[in-house]
Amino acid sequence: MRPVETARRHPEAGMRLGHNPAKFAEGVARPERITVVMISYIPFLSGYFAGALDVLKASLRSLRENTEPPFDLLVFDNGSGEETVTFLQDLRRQGGIQYLMLSDRNVGKAGAWDIVIPAAPGEILAYADSDVYFYPGWLSAGLAILETFPRVGMVTCRPMRTSPDLSSATLAWAERDPEALLEAGRWISWETFREHDLGLGQDEDEVRKRYETTQDLRVEYRGQIALIGAVHWQFVAHKQVLKQFVPLAVDQPLSGDRKLDECLNQGGYLRLMTVQPLVRHLGNVLPVELGKELAATTLRPPRPRARWLDWKPVRSLLLRLHHAIFRWYSGA
């Protein structure tokens, strides 16, 4: 009986005409071993976020240009505005993103991690915030540490001085493992230290003071050298290690990400960093040297100080109004 005649006799039924050609297709796309995961959140292109899309573009361009091992890119968009979503969709169409996940609302960073960590198809997960710039060799260097040291929780591809509380397990291991050579010293150069801390808007004198009064911990193991510590805004990890700590999002702020650090440390996992600075935190404004070929941001240079804004009640009121408007329009 032909399908059309069948349908006539069974009008309530669904119908099928022809055969699904997918049944006869040979072979299917296989995910890469490494999934680079990025979370984006740009609710609109003004205020704090005026330059954020330019920063995202610079981040993604540096990722494509400076990453050698094959990888898939999974971008989780946490409820950004239309311009950002359109940009991401265009990039996906052009092949720049393999998996694009658009969330209807901001579920927070930990909430996004709860989704992307189990979803990432690769066995290695290389995470980065959307304002990270990648330098050549970053992933290879991170993988070298990840695959040499035992029981690694995360590897950040930039050396920094981080809180020892979150690396106590790493220090304990380095002190007891006979193959580990632990040394204290100043291994991070002043230029590297300064570039990161000034980028957070800190005063140079404060940065210099911190540099001179703190030290780094370096560990050598089976010919591989790493610094002790890591950060949650960029890391390389084994997916299976991270998965055991999901869900992370219980009662966390939208930027809540210390919980992952705490879980890894409490679980006895190592948190390590590369000796060379191979990634950089960009913030919300594209540095001049990186932004020449991209559209200029719409941020104006700061105006001279107005003393009346220093009065605490005034500043507090204006900040609350600023945050309230943001909340209405971002859903955050």
Binding site: A7, A13, K23, D104, G108, P302, A306, L309, W328
Partner: protein
């Protein structure tokens, strides 16, 4: 200077908590010609029936497995209208099992209600599925469309349960209406007469426990499953076929000791690749489509007055401008933005 001002989202807490159930639909329309010529209409009817006939709470995840631009535009439009919580798109087709694996990882709920994109949902389908999940022990799959052909594999756990549990009885016989079997055959493109002859030897099995009854089988085209069970079964090497391997999935769930059940009433139905002549009429009778076939306006989340006012053009223009001015004013000041340093010196997440 790389950072100006403070991220306003920094200390805000999300009120979002994932629902127990993630409804996940897999879409694949590589183009709109040939076999797929009228498939977009099928996808639309499927999603409309789901949105109208599924009571919250649930999260909706749509996974697009490498479709063409028209389909992606439709899905994005649906998300923009507030109907889709998560839209996950893969640039290349991972195959059905590969997609299912990614869906299982991404779904935030503890229960996944999976469906192919040619599934028609009847009112009350989800509570009926959840009732079986919660009434029987160790359930791996619950489906909504009973079909005799499904009894030919993956029923060992049901038989073992009936033998070993004094609270469970197993009945063998014929209950599925013949018209359902015919419709199933037509939706699959089979000759219904030949199909009925083929499934004639198969027995139907009904399990009963504490007053709840279910067919002792399930269908991999549409099923509800605990995420943990599905994730365990799907582990391993990535599948290398576009389609296929799904009977193996059924058998793996059964072999792991989990029940596969189907609701006695038909709570979902297979559409096929073309909407049959009277299926549109059924959609209209159920209130999914208008009399002339146009979709009803659906909105899962109603906007309050305050939200609508905030989005009204003049108000939005004023408030956005005020926000920008405040930011410029405050960001030009030193202090007031700097919060406590984090362990790495960052002042926000």
């Amino acid at each position: 200077m790389p950072r100006v001002g403070m991220n306003p989202a920094r200390h805000r807490r999300s009120t979002y908590r994932p629902a127990r159930v993630t409804v996940a639909v897999l879409v694949y329309l590589p183009h709109l010609s040939g076999y797929f010529e009228r498939r977009l209409e099928v996808v639309k009817l499927s999603l409309e029936s789901l949105l109208l006939n599924t009571d919250p709470p649930y999260d909706l995840l749509v996974f697009d497995n490498g479709s063409g631009e028209e389909t992606l535009a439709y899905l994005r439009q649906l998300q923009g209208a507030g109907q889709v919580d998560y839209l996950l798109t893969s640039r290349e087709n991972l195959g059905k099992l590969g997609a299912l694996r990614l869906i299982t990882g991404a779904a935030p709920g503890e229960v996944i209600a999976y469906a192919d994109d040619d599934t028609f949902f009847y009112p009350g389908w989800l509570p009926a599925h959840l009732k079986l999940l919660d009434s029987f022990p160790n359930v791996g799959m619950v489906s909504g469309s009973p079909e005799r052909t499904l009894f030919d594999h993956g029923i060992a756990s049901a038989l073992r349960l009936a033998e070993g549990d004094p609270e469970v009885t197993l009945a063998r016989g014929r209950w599925i209406p013949e018209v359902w079997e015919q419709e199933w055959a037509v939706a699959l493109g089979y000759d219904p007469v030949a199909y009925l002859e083929r499934v004639q030897p198969l027995e139907e099995l009904i399990l009963e426990r504490r007053g709840e009854r279910a067919y002792a089988t399930a269908c991999h085209n549409q099923f509800l499953s605990p995420k943990e069970i599905l994730a365990r079964v799907l582990e391993g090497a990535w599948p290398d076929r576009l389609m296929g391997g799904l009977n193996e999935l059924d058998n793996a769930i059964d072999a792991a000791g989990h029940l596969r059940l189907t609701t006695l009433d038909r709570t979902t139905k297979l559409i096929g690749n073309v909407i049959g002549p009277d299926l549109a009429g059924e959609a209209a009778r159920l209130g999914i489509r208008g009399e002339s076939g146009e979709p009803k306006v659906l909105r899962r989340r109603r906007r309050g007055i305050a939200e609508r006012l905030a989005l009204w053009g003049p108000v939005h223009w004023f408030l956005q401008g005020l926000y920008n001015r405040l930011f410029a004013l405050l960001a030009g000041q030193m202090g007031g933005w700097q919060g406590a340093a984090h362990d790495d010196g960052r002042d926000d997440g």
